[in-house]
């Protein structure tokens, strides 16, 4: 995957000089009384692969529709390519959208659906055919080119919708859950395909997904939304390792959250939490004091039968073990009643595991394993 190495140098958002391709300036969208997008500011840069993540109904599709031109912001402006897009009608924008409902034309064959946008561009017939062939090969629909949308499966329909949006090679591609209906293997293939397309064409992608793994794989940056607001916009690794709130930590991946009280020490800070539990030592760089949340990922917690030598050690009993094949998740109940999730790779056969249900175990983690969050 050489794309990742290229991506690692690509960080226009860190450069204040860089002009963004898309600039949301204090954008608010209301439907009647209901506020779908709430005073949102966001910059997306050229050649980015930008992923929108968030719970159902948080406004992801609405954000996309404003970019495509089907909704106008109630307040604020959206700048695309240095130009306020409010007066530009959707058919004049160099964006294409893949609809969440696919919106395939039922009266046209797969090939004609894909060719639809090309013909509107007044492309020569030979070129249209060549481009359609290329797209059909890309989404592996060769056998179905002549079928109507109601004669193919849900996953195939999704691929037609994707091909139709890709065909015109727009400057900005908006994909609303483009891969949700595909099986894992095809999804991964298509993800890499998308990244390749992005590499070779330099198209900017904005993609909505419910699959955080997908967001992690493809995106240069991820935005986590909640109730029409952006909670955090950052690179995938920073979203995962340095969430700015328990909401983000909880939304992306699994996490243990402990409520406590932070006080400063030489090495960093300690967090006093549950009765009779040792304070948690962390080298948190934050200035947070007082009531805080301590968030730690399960895979950063080690489980052992003997007391290990580590910065933080907690004792508990195994409540449950979820076997996931390559890894297992241990649910360990502490004396306070708190249940902590810990994950360990199954590098031994299950039969040779040294502890099981109801056993006393030690949980240990380093002083850099978790993050301290205000809320």
């Amino acid at each position: 995957m050489n794309t990742q190495t290229i991506d690692s140098n690509f960080a226009p958002w860190e450069n204040a000089e860089e002009t963004p391709l898309i600039d949301f300036q204090n954008v608010t969208k209301r439907f009647g009384e209901f506020t779908a997008i709430d005073n949102l500011n966001l910059k997306i840069y050229e050649r980015e692969f930008f992923a929108l993540l968030g719970p159902s109904g948080c406004g992801k599709t609405t954000l996309m529709r404003m970019l495509a031109g089907f909704e106008n912001p109630t307040e604020g402006t959206i700048i695309l390519d240095g130009q306020d897009i409010a007066p530009v009608p959707p058919n004049k924008r160099s964006t294409n959208m893949m609809f969440q409902s696919y919106a395939l034309f039922p009266h046209l064959s797969v090939a004609d659906n894909i060719a639809f946008g090309l013909k509107r561009d007044g492309m020569a017939k030979g070129d249209v055919d060549a481009r359609v062939d290329e797209m059909i090969r890309l989404v592996q629909l060769g056998k179905f080119a002549k079928r109507k949308p109601d004669q193919i499966s849900g996953g195939q329909r999704q691929r037609v919708a994707l091909a139709r949006a890709l065909a015109r090679a727009p400057k900005l591609l908006l994909l609303d859950e483009p891969l949700g209906a595909l099986d894992k293997k095809l999804r991964q293939e298509t993800q890499f395909e998308l990244m390749d397309i992005q590499e070779s064409t330099g198209t900017t992608f904005v993609i909505v997904t419910h699959d955080q793994e997908e967001a992690m794989t493809v995106a240069s940056r991820v935005a986590v939304m909640d109730h029409g607001k952006l909670v955090q916009v950052d690179t995938p690794d920073r979203i995962y390792e340095n969430p700015n709130s328990t909401y983000v930590a909880d939304f992306i991946g699994d996490v243990n959250i402990l409520k406590g009280h932070a006080s400063k020490t030489d090495a960093g800070c300690t967090i006093a939490w549950g009765e009779g539990q040792p304070e948690i030592n962390t080298s948190c760089g934050t200035e947070l004091r007082g009531a805080v949340h301590y968030a730690i990922r399960p895979e950063k917690i080690a489980v052992s039968a003997d007391k290990p030598d580590a910065a933080n050690v907690l004792k508990g009993t195994v409540l449950d073990i979820a076997y996931l094949g390559n890894i297992s998740t241990y649910y360990v109940k502490l004396a306070t009643g708190e249940v902590i999730k810990a994950q360990a790779a199954n590098n031994r056969r299950i039969s040779r595991r040294s502890f099981t249900w109801e056993d006393e175990v030690y949980l240990s983690f380093t002083d850099t394993a978790g993050v301290v969050l205000a809320q």
Partner: protein
Amino acid sequence: MNILRRTALILPPYLWLLMLFLIPFAIVFKISLSEYALAIPRYMPQYDPETGIWHLITQLSFENYRLIGAGAVIAVLSGIALLAALIFLFYPRLRSAFSGETDGSLSDRLAAFLLGLAAAAVLVILGTIALSWFFPSLSGFVELQDHLYYTAYLSSLKIALFSTCLTLAVGFPFAWAMARSPAQYRPMLMMLVILPFWTSFLIRVYAWRGILSQTGYLNQILMALGIIDEPLVILNTNIAVYIGIVYTYLPFMVLPIYATLEKLDESLNEAAIDLGCTRTSAFWLVTVPLSRPGVIAGCFLVFIPALGEYVIPELLGGSNTLMIGKVLVEEFEKNGDWPVASAVAVILLLILIIPIVLFQRNQQKNQEAGL
């Protein structure tokens, strides 16, 4: 048991069909093969138990059909059917020749259709010439004794076709506007479309006399506004008949079209616009093709009753408005010639079978497509 239940289920509709259609049809058909007589009933031969059924059959003849020019009507119909079949044969080939694998543009399709039509027409004409050359005796079959009936059939066909087009032209925008109006108004609009059915059809058509006559409301208003000086002559012309048919059958056009348009997903329109369509081209490329099942259903629902329409031409049409329904009633009521009237009715039914079968096929296709 199962068979019994199934029979019980399908028996009522078949009985219905038998009693209300097949038996009356058989009676009418028999009368159409009889001869006019100044007696009661107005035809002979009658069934006489003494001579038996066979004697009755030998006395029947197709004389009435010859009189009304049924041969010519059948010849024209088969010509049209042949033409349609040939176009079906040519059109797909021509289209793919014009535009290759993918669906061509509208102009490609139109060119293919016109070429197909021309080729089919030439073939039909050549066939007709060849037939009349090799079988000169066939000309007796299409010979017209009395032009009245033949002209009435053609004129009915013309009026029905034209008023169907008019109703479509009025009804489609109607249905479209209804489907695009805010959801809370739609039931009310639907209600308004259906509302006229609550009063008698006869009264409503009669009311148009008051509107269209020389001293009627329309002329009064137009003259009061100074748009015209002389009252317009609308009543008792074909124009009044068209107005009457469009007015009466509009709901039959609006409702099926509205039903298809309302189900149409707005995101399809958005997708078309997103892919570069203007609002107008999205309408022609997406909305119109997808409303086709509703348009076809609506057209048949207007065309079929309009073809045999009697009340509207009688009340609104003039003496030169020739429609087969009117001829039929005149033959039956005024001339008392039951056999000829029956023959006219049988041929009318024959003509109507074609659109009814096509309508049925359209409905079936929609059902299979889940529309």
